[in-house]
């Protein structure tokens, strides 16, 4: 196999960026593990395969990673609400339609994500076991009658997390339009849920500054960074006619990285 043939089979954009990486590689700097192993084996194709993901971050592998990550969040929400609506005496009768609606949506999101993953030729991750006390942070919570306020607190936290989590992953889907569009249509449904539950709890439907309102301190990571007022190159708190910092933070929801979301969700994994 000549180099020309090899390179012809590679996305030309990879080649345009390869020079930069080659400099690093020959200097032995910042070589990732897979790349180092591939070079040690003397395999240029394997090294290229490792590079392509390293350079672009938007390979099908990344789309699958986003889908599996979203599936974990939806498993969490779906189990939370399905246990909630099944629990006798937990949810106020007047609010029942709200939660049966949300529960059905989260279950539909699980099914849709599993279908997208299967459609990519992969296997959806299994649902893990959850601990809705968050390892004691929500002491004694077990969906019992009389725990409705705590149930709503957790719903408030989960929905605001979901909005920020999907938003943070959207850039990784930019080259897969069907998955991007599907994810966005879930993202905005999570925002509708968040607004409804926040309002049900007597709060605004939107997030002001980085306030967690009356949620427990361990949830602060869900709100950190929501006080950002710089959008692109624009300071949106000092715009003509509407210099209002609180409104500026409310008007834009902020993304969370996968690592930030993982830190928020991990306490809920059994």
């Amino acid at each position: 196999m000549t180099p020309k043939t090899l390179f012809d089979s590679v996305d030309p954009e990879i080649m345009s960026r390869l020079d930069d990486r080659q400099a690093e590689i020959t200097q032995g700097a910042s070589i990732n593990g897979k790349l180092a192993a591939a070079l040690a084996l003397g395999s240029i194709p394997i090294a290229l395969a490792a590079l392509s993901k390293d350079v672009f971050g938007q390979t099908p592998t990344d789309v699958l990673d986003v889908l599996q990550f979203a599936l974990l969040l939806e498993y969490l929400e779906a189990e939370f609400y399905s246990r909630g609506v099944a629990a006798a005496g937990l949810i106020d009768a007047a609010d029942r339609t709200i939660f049966t609606t949300i529960s059905a949506h989260e279950t539909a999101h699980v099914t849709a994500l599993q279908g997208l993953i299967t459609g990519k030729g992969a296997t959806p991750n299994a649902k893990p076991a959850f601990d809705f006390t968050a390892h004691g942070n929500v002491a004694g919570f077990n969906f019992s009658a009389g725990q409705y306020e705590t149930f709503k607190v957790l719903a408030h936290a989960f929905e605001d997390t979901g909005v920020r989590a999907y938003k943070g992953q959207a850039p990784r889907l930019i080259n897969d339009k069907p998955v991007l569009t599907a994810a966005l249509t879930i993202h905005s449904i999570e925002a509708r849920h968040a607004s409804e539950i926040r309002r049900l709890r007597g709060k605004k439907g939107w997030i002001t500054g980085n306030s967690r309102d009356d949620l427990p301190a361990f949830t602060q990571g869900i709100y950190d960074g929501e006080d950002n007022v710089t959008q692109g190159a624009v300071n949106v708190s000092t715009l003509p006619g509407i210099a209002n910092v609180a409104a500026a933070t409310e008007a834009f929801d902020e993304p969370l990285t996968k690592a930030q979301v993982t830190a928020i969700v991990t306490p809920f994994l059994a």
Binding site: T181, A182, T185, A191, R192, D253
Partner: protein, 243 residues
Amino acid sequence: MPDKKTMLISRAEQFSDPATRRDFLKLMGIGGAIVLLPSVLTSCSDNNSITGPGTGNTLTIDFAKGDIAVLQFAYALEQLEADFYTRVIAAFAGFPAADRAVLADVQKHEVIHREFFKAALGAANGFTLTTTYGSLNFSDRTSVLNLAATFEDLGVAAYNGAAQYITSTDNLTIAGKIVSVEARHASAIHDLIEPKTNAFAPKSFDDAFRPSKVATAAQTYIVDKLTFANPPATFVQGPNGNG
């Protein structure tokens, strides 16, 4: 009439120029003549009205501009929303306090969105729309909330559908930051109209509408004639398949 004045309109954009508009109205008052060159004939209806939907100047969004076009499309919708809520809060004194609290917040958010796009697009890619609400009674709670819900739902579907045409991850993130706030608004306004029902989120997946579908819906409330140049050839449907 020997002293009859003539006003020459060669570009539809001239209608958006306040000076041109002033002249136009003056001429109507004194029986002047307006010469419309062929370039603008398609943008005006035959009754000389400049207030009906789509009867004003032509606003062309050229998708050959890439992300700029998507931002301009969003800017048009945010101008409509900001204008609407600004009129709402000027007339909502008789509404319940819970409504006023939501609508006052939403008005601020939409003005911030509008001003953000204005700043981000800059003068070269900016424009100012003229709106129209027909016979809407802004002091009627039900009418106002229903149209607010329509605008918020449309905004959500518009961003969800247009995101596929964005090529910059930074712009995609900005769109994501705004669309979820529009969805929060939609939920809150539906909740004001029909509390404790499923109206806040009637479907498992939100809609994603293609830009032309959104433009047709928004045109009802916009005097300028919205048109697309080089519109995207393809549209990827969302789960609801109705875009």
